[in-house]
């Protein structure tokens, strides 16, 4: 380390200060260009998609089934499908994720077993989502013999997919609860579970909810795992229950993205994307609201 510094300082002669300053400016320009590349891409994406969606995104679009004819097409069944799946994923993943996090932070001794579980969770977070789709197909559909393409199978698959994220963010929220509060609770004679229920969980709930909601937002955009478990890319009737077959918003966008015809490419598809982005925006907004609402009440 120190050798590197010395060499570089010695080699940067005193006579070419100007060229060094020029290099510095070029480097800064490159850095700014790198940031602008991402930001411009984001702006271009949003501007184009919203511009093209104008005129197509209306009440009829939200309440109609898909159609061969662009003017009659809508996303109603997919909207219901996505909502159903996400609600189920929330119901499954919140208790499982928080429970696992509570175990790791409040019960588990700091030993090899805990380390294995945590390393394993980190690795699961890096598994490509399409592989979770294979897990859903091979385990729930083939092995458990559940009907393929149902809301239940989709929700179970996506739950396994987001569980690592929910666990890690819940762990962080639980870790942020000060130990003094735990000791105060024990001082009142509570048992460990009473302490967790009345101190740790209420205190860490805003953090847990924020992390979970953001993970759910990620799950709404998932496409590949749902294709693998046999969800339809397009469906004409809204699902009635958790054992109905279904399609979801991103699947319909996938189906429409290479539909021939300008009306689909520059009209119907952007309108569906705007619906999906608005849902994501609302969910992220809810997460931010919860974070602010509950952190304000702190002393």
């Amino acid at each position: 380390m120190s050798r590197v510094i010395r060499e570089s300082v010695l080699s940067s002669g005193k006579d070419n200060i100007n060229s060094e300053q020029l290099k510095g400016k070029l480097f800064l320009a490159l850095c700014i260009a790198a940031i602008l590349f991402g930001l411009l891409a984001l702006s271009a994406l949003l501007i184009y998609v919203f511009r093209d969606a104008v005129g197509w995104l209306n009440w009829q679009f939200i309440t109609s089934p898909p159609s061969r004819f662009a003017s009659k097409a809508g996303v109603y069944p997919m909207l219901i499908g996505s909502s159903f799946v996400i609600m189920l994923v929330a119901i499954f993943s919140l208790p499982l994720g928080v429970g696992a996090a509570v175990y790791l932070e409040e019960y588990a001794p700091k030993n090899f077993f805990k380390k294995i579980i945590e390393t394993n969770i980190a690795n699961l977070a890096g598994v490509p989502s399409i592989v979770y789709g294979l897990l859903g197909l091979g385990f729930f559909v083939s092995f458990m013999d559940m009907a393929h393409g149902t809301i239940l199978v989709g929700a179970l698959t996506l739950t396994l997919r987001i569980l690592p994220v929910v666990i890690v963010s819940s762990q962080e929220a639980i870790r942020a609860v000060p130990d003094s509060q735990r000791r105060a609770s024990y001082g009142l004679g509570t048992t460990r579970w009473q302490m967790i229920r009345s101190v740790v969980l209420p205190e860490s709930m805003p953090g847990i909810m924020t992390g979970t909601i953001l993970a759910l937002a990620g799950a709404i955009g998932e496409t590949a795992p749902l294709i693998m478990i046999g969800a339809a890319t397009s469906i004409f009737t809204a699902p009635r229950g958790i054992l109905s077959s279904f399609s979801a918003m991103p699947l319909q966008i996938f189906a429409w993205s290479d539909f021939p015809g300008d009306d689909f490419q520059h009209g119907v598809t952007p309108a569906a994307i705007v619906v999906l982005l608005v849902i994501l925006l609302a969910i992220n907004g809810a997460a931010i609201y919860i974070r602010h609402r509950f952190s304000k009440n702190r002393p």
Partner: protein, 307 residues
């Protein structure tokens, strides 16, 4: 911490009951991993009963559903590696430079404006990126390069790079920020420019974190599915390693896109094509797992520790 002042028979039953429930939940993550490995292994073993390992590993033709069927995985692996290389060429330098800008040059206000925008970039679903590449970027590229095909590697790799830049930038930025201020001040005290401090002190000191962010970014690109399926096309063919630039303007098929194609077709549970899905999935899983583990090892073992 386990000072139970009162020992109540029902209380302690509930206590150990709750602990057991939470332990079970934590154990689900282990079961998930075992499940993934078992499902992939069992179906892949089944696949190799019908197709020889030699054909899969050394074969140069991938045609799972159209007869005569052939299950050589090389076109898919070469397509994936080629696509990933193109993504890395854009995303890694851009991600690193963005990280340097955020940690070394941007003031606090600018930083707090850019970071959420990058988070939005990372949060947009990959189908949307695929659509963006196919419908907006490819036509734009066509005005510059008339020979470009409707489905091509270039526009798919541009959007996937945009998707991955935030990941690379945020992990690299954490590593760069962990370099203590005293090292920078020592450099400045020797009278060198900020550029020299950054490139000769800060970046070498945070190298392990930067490399682990690179590997993680590459692993994400390999596993990326929808954008490359929509914009990159579905044509399984070998990339000519001697004319790499030529392939940029043409369609390919990655392992993930091939899996989507089989998943969308109506193959049945006992066909060879269905089983090949898991053999390709297993290959993909091994590649990403290796990269993720290497990234973790580099991060934990070679990280410079400053107090």
């Amino acid at each position: 911490m386990s000072i139970d002042l009162q020992k109540r028979p029902f209380g302690s039953l509930k206590e150990s009951g709750m602990k057991g429930v939470f332990l079970t939940f934590a154990f689900i993550s282990i079961v998930t991993t075992i499940g993934i490995v078992l499902v992939l292994l069992v179906e892949t073993a089944d696949f190799f009963r019908e197709v020889s390992i030699k054909e899969f590993v050394l074969g140069f033709r991938w045609s799972p559903t159209i007869k005569p069927t052939s299950f050589g995985v090389w076109p898919l692996v070469s397509g994936t590696l080629y696509f990933t290389f193109a993504v890395a060429l854009i995303a890694l330098p851009a991600g690193l430079l963005a990280a340097v800008f955020l940690s070394e040059y941007a003031g606090r206000r600018l930083r707090s404006a850019i970071k959420p925008a990058l988070e939005i970039l990372a949060g947009i679903p990959t189908v949307v990126y695929g659509y963006f590449a196919l419908v907006y970027i490819t036509p734009l590229l066509r005005t510059l390069m008339p020979g470009i095909k409707t489905f091509n590697v270039l526009s798919a790799s541009i959007v996937v790079a945009i998707m991955i830049i935030p990941t690379v930038a945020s992990i690299s930025e954490d590593a760069i920020r962990a370099v203590p201020q005293s090292l920078r001040q020592a450099g400045s005290g020797l009278g060198v420019t900020k550029f020299q401090v950054t490139t000769t002190i800060v970046l070498p000191a945070s190298l392990s974190g930067i490399i682990s962010s690179f590997i993680l970014g590459i692993s994400r690109a390999i596993g990326e599915t929808m954008a490359v399926t929509i914009a990159g096309g579905n044509l399984a063919r070998l990339v000519n390693p001697f004319k790499p630039a030529e392939a940029l303007l043409k369609p390919i098929q990655t392992m993930t896109a091939a899996m989507v194609e089989i998943g969308m077709s109506d193959v049945t549970g006992d066909s060879t094509a269905y089983k090949s899905l898991f053999a390709v999935g297993f290959t993909l899983f091994l590649m990403t797992l290796t990269l993720n583990v290497v990234s973790q090892i580099i991060k934990s073992r070679y990280q410079e520790k400053y107090q």
